[in-house]
């Protein structure tokens, strides 16, 4: 297949511009696939445009950055400016998760789908309230039941988890083995 056969006749510059416009208005990270569909372009052209857009922001030291989050593209402010942005928006940092919740979340993120007894085995404590908190914050979702005695509920992380932790997808999490005895 001739990959230079574009369905539309946009130049790279034009494509970069329209991709930028769409990512800007989207309130969710926008996938390459969806961009290709909407713009009637092929995937490769979109990817080239996105890369070019990201470079442009970097090269001119923009206040914005282009990132891949939860499998899609997102424009957001650079972290350097968080103080001024916060002042403007008049927001405070939202309440951080407790250590227990973070540990529970870490276990779920790395071992999903995982049951409550399995979480207990690793953490050594009951995690019921942590799980409740994580469900309320939509960071985890139920993922059916494990087909063993008692058919316990299984949990996994959600798309919201990827967004809130700035992850492209689960593979972006460092390998759990990397955490082996850091404090030796």
């Amino acid at each position: 297949m001739d990959s230079s056969e574009e369905k539309q006749n946009r130049s790279l510059a034009e494509l970069v511009a329209v991709v930028e416009a769409l990512i800007f208005v989207s309130d969710e990270p926008l996938t390459t696939k969806l961009l290709a569909e909407i713009l009637d372009e092929d995937k490769e052209s979109i990817e080239a445009a996105v890369e070019e857009l990201g470079d442009e922001y970097k090269n001119r030291e923009s206040g914005l950055q282009l990132r891949e989050i939860a499998g899609g593209w997102q424009i957001s402010t650079r972290t350097e400016f968080h103080e001024d942005v916060r002042k403007f928006l008049k927001t405070r940092p939202s309440a951080k998760l407790s250590l227990a919740s973070l540990e529970t979340l870490a276990v779920i993120a790395y071992k999903q789908p995982v049951t409550v007894p399995e979480i207990l085995e690793i953490r050594g404590v009951q995690s019921a309230s942590a799980i409740k908190t994580l469900l309320e914050k939509r960071l985890i979702v139920t993922r059916g039941h494990k087909e063993t005695v008692g058919r316990p509920m299984q949990y996994g992380t959600s798309k919201e988890f990827l967004i809130q932790f700035g992850l492209k997808d689960l593979s972006e999490l460092p390998s759990i083995e990397d955490f082996e005895d850091l404090a030796s």
Binding site: S76, V125, S158, F179
Partner: protein, 256 residues
């Protein structure tokens, strides 16, 4: 008996950090920082500057028990999990004290009673570090902002429904049917779990679902209540939106 002093401290070695509290409340806060017995154990092992692969079980068990006793003295409720670990430590300690069979001691690999605990600690330590990594990520993420919502058909014409609106719809149906004679033949009462399952499937298939229609399908008051709870549950645990176009109108359950 000597009166309990208010100044408590653990000092294992000179030069290592101590837990010092001026009052019971302050100690309560410091104790609360441990995420569980494994966390506490790791702390004690590090305090002792002990080798995790060769834990001085007797000493660590004693420190652990001292800690638990201190919590009880201060009337801090000790979670059951901490007590289970205490029992485990005591068991390991006593196993270590038993004299070994002469034949075993020679060349065969002896089952170290500490092995399982060590494995658990190492495994836990990984997730504790992973949790720290996640914490650091949120710190970064909280410093970056994406654009807020832009007015569009999606979020303008429709007003997001609240729980009260949902309750109103529910009430409407109950009132509408209260005068009806209950059917003689009931179908088997459906459980909440099955109701949720059914609702989920319908929602995934149809994307949008009229709450009014869904409630109308219920054949008894009990089923209606179950359906209502199912809708609440789905709203809580799944990525769905409740939309109401007209005040007091129908509510649409929409998968997002």
């Amino acid at each position: 008996m000597e009166k309990q002093q208010e100044h408590f401290s653990f000092d294992f070695f000179t030069g290592t950090p101590q837990i010092v509290a001026e009052s019971a409340d302050e100690l309560k806060i410091k104790l609360g920082e441990f995420a569980g017995p494994l966390d506490l154990l790791l702390y004690l092992i590090k305090q002792e500057q002990a080798n995790i692969f060769d834990i001085p079980i007797a000493k660590i068990t004693d420190e652990y028990l001292r800690y638990i006793r201190l919590m009880k003295t201060l009337d801090i409720s000790v979670a059951a999990d901490f007590l289970v670990m205490a029992a485990t430590l005591i068991e390991i300690k006593s196993k270590m004290l038993l004299p070994r069979e002469p034949s075993e001691a020679e060349d065969e690999e002896i089952d170290d009673p500490r092995k399982e605990l060590i494995d658990r600690l190492l495994e836990y330590e990984k997730y504790k570090s992973a949790a720290q990594m996640l914490y650091e990520r949120t710190t970064i993420e909280q410093a970056t902002f994406a654009r807020g919502q832009i007015e569009s058909d999606e979020n303008n014409a429709e007003i997001n429904a609240t729980m009260f609106d949902l309750l109103t719809v529910f009430q409407k149906i109950v009132t509408r049917h209260k005068d009806e004679v209950q059917m003689e033949i009931h179908r088997e009462e459906i459980s909440l779990a099955d109701m949720i399952k059914t609702l989920k499937k319908r929602l995934f298939d149809q994307i949008e679902l009229s709450v009014l229609e869904f409630f109308e399908e219920m054949q008894s008051k009990r089923e209606l209540v179950t359906a209502f709870v199912a809708v609440l549950e789905i709203t809580r645990t799944e990525s769905v939106k409740l939309i109401q176009s007209k005040t007091f109108g129908d509510i649409i359950l929409k998968k997002i």
